[in-house]
């Protein structure tokens, strides 16, 4: 049930490594059978200084900026889905757990990896105030702006992952090909 994805927007920072999928969407909500029903429970069990899962910042975000091994643990695609239904279609992290990363691309969304030094700079920029992130998938470029300052980054995604984003997800890609 794919819909047009929007890459970019305002960003929320989750400044910790190893955030797992139980923290993104607790197992007790896995009894829902639609993606939309997950909406209110995004990041409910994540305890992080200065982060409020019910706050305006997350509500308005289109991008999550985070650290290493994001999305580890359970294979639940409810984790990408809860981002999707909340309008977060891009995650930018130092690294990912394999299943979460693949689930993001399989849903036609972006899981971008940047080196730690770049994530440090983005997080420092975000700390100055409301940061806007824009992403050019075709050129594989990110631009992050806060006030008068703008940072630019190049990113790599595999040709396969790029094709999934362009197709709208793995079901669309596979159905056309196999």
């Amino acid at each position: 049930m794919s819909s047009k994805k929007i890459f970019g927007g305002s960003a929320v920072v989750l400044d910790r490594a190893d955030i797992n999928t139980d923290e993104i969407i607790p197992a007790k909500y896995l009894t829902e059978v639609t993606k939309e029903a997950l909406t209110p429970y995004i990041l409910e069990d994540l305890t992080l200084d200065g982060f409020d899962p019910k706050g305006e910042k997350l509500k308005n975000a289109g991008v999550v900026i985070t650290r290493a091994n994001f999305g580890c643990g359970s294979s639940r695609e409810h984790a990408p889905w809860v981002f999707e239904v909340n309008g977060v279609h891009t995650v930018i992290a130092e690294s990912y757990a394999r299943i979460f990363r693949q689930n993001m691309f399989n849903c036609g969304m972006l899981a971008i990896e940047l080196p730690k030094s770049d994530i440090d700079r983005i997080i420092a920029l975000e700390a100055r105030g409301d940061m806007q992130v824009s992403i050019d998938v075709e050129k594989q470029k990110i631009s992050a702006s806060s006030g008068s300052e703008t940072l630019g980054f190049d990113f790599e995604i595999s040709p396969f992952d790029k094709a999934l984003v362009e197709a709208g997800g793995w079901v669309e890609f596979a159905d056309a090909r196999y």
Partner: protein
């Protein structure tokens, strides 16, 4: 250059290489449970593609919350049940015949050396114990698997884990894998296959090998894998005897999947486990591992024995050996969940269930239940559980609860003492 088992399985199942580095494999098994499959079913129906690629290669079980605890879980079970019936999937396990997916599917003989297996469950890596490539996937991969019988993976890279020496009495596969994860870290094997080798693994039963492979994902691994050998053949024999005629013939056939001696590994690591003591986790990540002695005396409120890691008959025997003739502490709630009806039945025949009951344990039906805080033993805020499961994430067994992972024997000893305890000290 020789090939690893994963490279051999990938080569034998290669269906497409749409881009350099991406391998689309044909699947021998697509396993389904009621938590991650219903959304895939709903999407297939919405797309007007409500079909299955091969009903004999799809195996289905209701296991996470069973019997259903409320209207929502009843609906999930119904969606799965109706779908299995609609497509006449012969191997569907409902209430009374169902058990934890990663215990019941191997037990039925569905997993064979050289197979490709996916499931919408991260602990699918368990099935690599049979010399298969088995990976946990999300619902979209599952959906495409159900419809097309394919799944895409990156080129396989393998870390070889050589486990040498000999285990002390009372030290088991769970202690070994906790120790290995403690050294690798929670992302030490991301995008890698963990190949478990060496004399300690060769001496292990299939049950113990499943415990090893089950936790590969806790180091980020795509799959754990053991080499198929006569232990594998013996376990599968009731299911393969007509196919092969003799065990030797089966072993000769399965040997095609064993990694070549000159295979190329991403890394080769050695673990001498001769001095390894029983292990236990602390904090909220499965790589936070210490010896039980370091946490001895830690108060616990609940003990949970079961799950896809340690709910098999060998695990129950090890716990029962510690519990026999003893009572658990008044301050502790003991819960045991045999992982399948067959295991439950064997435990009854062997008097193990009576030992658990005499000790003061609650015996539940086979289910994933409390392991992920869904039913049958959810923790309250600030409660502590000694568990034979595989994840100690914050809130995993209930919001505000703490989980310490350990072997069945350590869990049993801790139940008796009311605090984390080395079974060898009792």
């Amino acid at each position: 250059m020789g090939k690893t088992i994963a490279e051999k399985i990938f080569a034998a199942h290669l269906r497409d290489e749409p881009f350099a580095g991406t391998r689309v494999l044909s699947l021998d098994r697509v396993l389904c449970h009621e938590i991650t499959t219903p959304v895939a079913i709903a999407d297939l129906v919405w797309r007007q593609k409500d079909r299955v690629f091969d009903r004999d290669k799809i195996k289905v079980v209701i296991d996470h919350v069973t019997p259903s605890k409320d209207s929502k879980t009843a609906t999930q079970a119904k969606i799965l049940r109706d779908w299995a019936r609609r497509h006449e999937i012969p191997d569907f396990f409902d209430v009374g015949r169902n058990g934890v997916c990663h215990a019941i599917f191997p037990e039925k003989g569905y997993i064979r050396p050289g197979f490709t297996v996916i499931m919408g469950d991260s602990h699918t890596c368990t099935h690599g114990a049979f010399g298969a490539f088995a990976a946990g996937v999300g619902t979209t991969d599952l959906e495409v698997g159900i419809l097309k019988g394919v799944c895409a993976f990156r080129e396989p890279a393998t870390i070889r884990i050589n486990i040498t020496g000999s285990l002390q009495q009372g030290v088991v596969a769970k202690d070994v894998i906790l120790h290995v994860i403690g050294k690798l870290g929670v992302n030490g094997a991301t995008d890698r296959i963990l190949e478990f080798r060496g004399p300690v693994v060769e001496a292990m039963s299939m049950e113990a090998r499943m415990t090893l492979c089950n936790m590969a994902i806790e180091a980020g691994g795509t799959c754990g894998v053991c080499m198929p050998d006569m232990t594998t053949v013996d376990y599968l024999w009731p299911f393969i005897k007509e196919e092969f005629g003799s065990r030797e013939a089966a072993l000769a056939d399965y040997s095609q999947w064993v990694s070549d001696p000159d295979a190329d590994y991403d890394k080769v690591l050695y673990f001498d486990v001769s001095s390894l003591e029983p292990q236990v986790t602390f904090d909220y990540k499965p790589d936070c591992v210490k010896s039980v002695a370091d946490l001895a005396g830690t108060r616990i409120d609940q003990v949970y024995i079961g799950t896809c890691t340690n709910g098999r008959i060998e695990d129950l025997r090890q716990a029962a050996a510690v519990l026999k003739g003893k009572r658990i502490a008044d301050s502790v709630r003991g819960i045991v969940s045999p992982a399948t009806p067959k295991i439950f039945s064997e435990a009854l025949d062997e008097g193990i269930i009576q030992i658990f009951m005499d000790a003061g344990f609650c015996v539940t039906n086979p289910t994933c239940g409390a392991c992920l805080g869904m039913s049958n033993g959810v923790l309250a805020e600030d409660e502590v559980c000694a568990s034979t499961s595989n994840r100690n994430f914050n809130g995993r067994m209930g919001k505000g609860g703490m989980v310490h992972l350990m072997s069945p024997a350590t869990a049993a000893a801790s139940a008796i003492a009311g605090t984390i305890t080395d079974a060898r000290s009792l």
